[in-house]
């Protein structure tokens, strides 16, 4: 161990630098995509379009960060889309019935409702010992069913909504649309939480080796419960922003959105088997997803092809990423 230090350390530090910029491969992929698309579609590489992409991925980023925390603990939260649907409906009904409810209060109400829904997931998983994929597959249906029960099949449209509520996501008193600011704040808070607090670090420890976490005195079950509450809370926030941005709350709001959040996490380098994943990676993952969606529209690919092309590009990104990672690990001379 000692004798080989100088030589080993040198190659290590290079290896470490590369691995720490593990997100490098996604960045390369994004740049490639932008260059190729801008080549024949000049309208793509503009500030306006960039702003559109950011608007589109703000909600995705918020929910994907919650999803990421869940995945790091070796779980998954498939119910996020239904939580968004249900909370969007409940909050919208509330502001329509009580126009005096201020937008900040609506946000808080959404987060509270989301956290409650998320805590049910957490209870089913920690106390009920149901595997996360089954538990949240169940609540995916239950919560969506509750959207119908709650709304009685009706919906809230743009004309019914108070102006303040509609402006919540779109107004830009600071020069940037609020929704992007919300996303930025969430990104910052989650980044600090995951890197600079013990509960945040516990999430990684629990996902990396649950038995060792238990022996190290980390509250494993409480940590798992917490990530589902956070996932619900962020879904609740996203729900209010969703209703405001699209000026409606419908029974099919956010239908299928859970897969996009999982895709953003995984494309962003979050290990689907738990233990690792970074905020920067997930944001890049969400950005790549948004860029792909946007690019496919800009280059006028037939709508019939769009979904398949989107999926293929995501797969390509993940394959390239894991190939680069394997390469890096070989270069790093693991286990010397």
């Amino acid at each position: 161990m000692n004798a080989t230090v100088p030589k080993a350390q040198e190659s290590r530090s290079l290896f470490l630098t590369l691995v720490r910029f593990r997100e490098l491969s996604i960045i390369i992929f994004i740049i490639l995509l932008i260059v190729i698309v801008s080549w024949n579609t000049p309208a793509f590489f503009t500030t306006t379009n960039f702003r559109t992409i950011l608007l589109n991925i703000s909600i995705l980023s918020i929910v994907a960060l919650g999803q990421t925390m869940v995945i790091i603990t070796r779980g998954i939260d498939l119910s996020v889309s239904s939580m968004i649907g249900l909370v969007a409906m409940m909050v919208s009904f509330t502001v329509v019935a009580f126009p005096s409810v201020s937008p900040p209060l609506a946000i808080l109400l959404g987060m509270l409702l989301g956290a409650i829904l998320g805590s049910f997931n957490g209870l089913i998983i920690t106390i009920g010992k149901v595997p996360p994929i089954i538990a949240t597959l169940g609540t995916l249906s239950v919560y969506r069913g509750m959207v119908f029960l709650y709304s009685g099949g009706t919906w809230i449209n743009s004309f019914q909504m108070p102006a303040g509520y509609r402006a919540l996501a779109k107004a830009d008193p600071l020069g940037i649309p609020n929704i992007i600011l919300f996303a930025a704040v969430v990104i910052l808070v989650v980044y600090l939480f995951l890197n600079y607090t013990r509960p945040g670090r516990d999430i990684y420890a629990v996902g990396s080796n649950p038995e060792a976490a238990n022996v190290a005195g980390i509250p494993v079950q409480r940590t798992i419960f917490m990530v589902y509450v956070i996932s619900g809370l962020l879904a609740g926030l996203a729900a209010v922003l969703w209703a405001s941005r699209f000026e409606s709350a419908q029974t099919n709001t956010a239908l299928g959105f859970e897969l996009q959040t999982v895709a953003a996490s995984v494309v962003g380098g979050v290990n689907i088997f738990g233990g690792s994943g970074t905020v920067v990676g997930v944001i890049l993952g969400a950005f790549l997803l948004g860029t792909i969606q946007n690019a496919l529209i800009m280059v006028r690919i037939s709508p019939f092809w769009q979904l398949a092309a989107q999926g293929l590009l995501i797969l390509a990104a993940v394959i390239v990423d894991s190939a680069i990672l394997r390469r890096l690990q070989k270069l790093g001379g693991i286990g010397e």
């Binding site: 161990m1 350390q9 600079y196 670090r201 990684y204 060792a212 286990g335």
Partner: protein, 500 residues
């Protein structure tokens, strides 16, 4: 030394698992500043003993005194909080976290409401430096070698103020330079007053690092000796000194032609230059400690473990065995050590398990099964081996260990093997079934089957084998005929000490 209060004292500790006595009134005292080795054969109870010290197991009876005070551990965390650190054979780190966090997981330094990474790295670096190790605390645990991971675990134990450090075979997967480095760390810990309990099968390592040694045999305390005044012969005697009378000796069978000949067989990192020959009607016993590479050789013969060099000849013909299917075609059968995982499909019926390797015999054109014919064959096979069950439709999972083993044997006998490889054929099964299995082996040998038997039970090896090979660390270190073999000689070869 005797004046001192021992840091830990175990008094009359007993522990059973499902009727099997793992520990029987074991006593041990360990003082601070000593390196105390635990020695014993496989299954002597060493691991169980240390697991009662670390709170993983709770003893059925007996007392544990920590610095003279009676304590009780309800779990590993209790023991950890009371200053007992443990390092198991398999490192238990967080592969995705860096060294610093692994050392301080759950106890990261917090200042001003946020984790102070700089302070954490400094603390980790200091701890590693105390151990005389230079490692960048930012490296993720998954990128460390086993030796480095152990170092991190030692650092973690120290950061928890461990006064007793328990290591379960820490050297088993280290290179010799890494072992020396580990010993340097252990000696350093001893100097600072930490007690170290250390399990190793390698006697020369005990002489290199230990102060005292306690020997266990079959769950019983045999004795404690000062390393300075003890001879290897005496230690081996204490380890094996068991009467060799509860045996079912093999009947003499006529030896036929050489059926299997292995020359220079090597699988890098697993075993090296293994050569032997096996004749029809012969039982060749393979003795050695767990991890000596015996099972890997068996797996290589059956085409599971790829080989990097050497040749295999079957009935005089050189063959290349790349998968179990080829091995079976050549007349080999392999009864693996872990019958629950590798020998049986537990949720399937006895009949389905027995006919699994010979399904093609019951296949009609078009892939349909002749279910009834298969069941008949299974029923006959089960009857022949006296499998006790509610019928051949009973699930394998519901059978006792002994009967499960009979099903595995029945399954492989149906393939009519010329060469039968048995890995620990009677581990964990009752005496009656054991006798039946031994009788069956004798009968098969009489019918001209060549048998390669891996066993960690010396009486079984001595009783059943015509010839005995001993392996140690991937090499054959001894070969004895039935007449010349003794427990002492085999144990000496297995632990690499020349007898006499």
């Amino acid at each position: 030394m005797t004046e001192q209060t021992p840091i830990i004292q175990m008094r009359e500790i007993s522990k059973s698992f499902g009727g099997v006595r793992a520990l029987n009134n074991v006593d041990i005292k360990v003082y601070s500043g000593e390196v105390h080795a635990l020695l014993g054969e496989n299954g002597a109870g060493k691991s169980t003993l240390i697991k009662t010290m670390t709170g993983v197991h709770q003893p059925d009876s007996g007392d544990i005194y920590l610095r003279g005070e009676l304590v009780r551990f309800n779990g590993p965390r209790d023991a950890q909080q009371m200053g007992i650190g443990a390092i198991y054979q398999e490192p238990s780190l967080f592969p995705d976290l860096d060294i610093a966090e692994n050392i301080l997981a759950g106890r990261q330094p917090v200042s001003g409401g946020r984790i102070n990474w700089r302070q954490m790295y400094r603390a980790a670096r200091d701890l590693l430096q105390q151990l005389g190790v230079q490692l960048d605390p930012r490296i993720k645990a998954r990128n460390l070698s086993v030796a480095q991971q152990q170092t991190v675990e030692i650092a973690r134990a120290l950061s928890l103020n461990a006064q007793l450090l328990i290591m379960d075979e820490p050297t088993s997967s280290l290179t010799s330079t890494e072992v020396e480095e580990l010993f340097r760390i252990i000696r350093q810990l001893r100097q600072t007053g930490t007690a170290v309990i250390f399990i190793s099968h390698r006697l020369e390592e005990l002489f290199a690092v230990a102060d005292r040694v306690t020997i266990l045999r079959d769950g019983n305390y045999v004795g404690t000796r000062e390393i300075a005044g003890v001879k290897t012969d005496e230690l081996i005697q204490m380890m094996v000194g068991r009467a060799v009378d509860d045996l079912f000796p093999k009947q003499v069978a006529p030896l036929g032609d050489t059926l299997l000949e292995v020359k220079g067989l090597t699988a890098t990192g697993k075993f090296e230059n293994v050569s032997f020959a096996l004749r029809a009607g012969e039982i060749l016993g393979v003795a050695g400690l767990i991890g000596a590479g015996r099972t890997d050789v068996a797996r290589a013969l059956f085409g599971i473990q790829p080989i990097s060099a050497g040749t295999i000849e079957i009935a005089g013909q050189e063959v290349a065995i790349q998968n179990p299917r080829q091995a079976m075609k050549l007349g080999l059968a392999f009864v693996p050590e872990d019958r629950q995982h590798h020998g049986l499909v537990l949720p399937m019926s006895i009949a389905a398990n027995i006919t699994l390797p010979i399904l093609s015999r019951f296949t009609r054109t078009g892939g349909w099964m002749r279910e009834r014919a298969a069941k008949q064959v299974a029923a006959v096979a089960a009857r022949r081996l006296e499998v006790k069950s509610a019928g051949i439709d009973q699930k394998a999972r519901e059978l006792s260990g002994g009967n499960q083993q009979k099903v595995v044997l029945a399954k492989w006998l149906e393939t009519n093997p010329r060469i039968l490889i048995l890995d620990e054929p009677t581990r964990g099964i009752d005496v009656g079934t054991k006798a039946a299995v031994h009788q069956l082996m004798s009968d098969l040998a009489n019918q001209g089957v060549a048998i390669l038997m891996i066993s960690s039970e010396l009486p079984e090896i001595l009783g059943m084998s015509d010839r005995i090979l001993v392996m140690r660390e991937g090499r054959i270190t001894g070969e004895y005929t039935r007449a010349e073999a003794t427990q002492e000689k085999i144990m000496a070869s297995a632990t690499a000490v020349s007898p006499n």
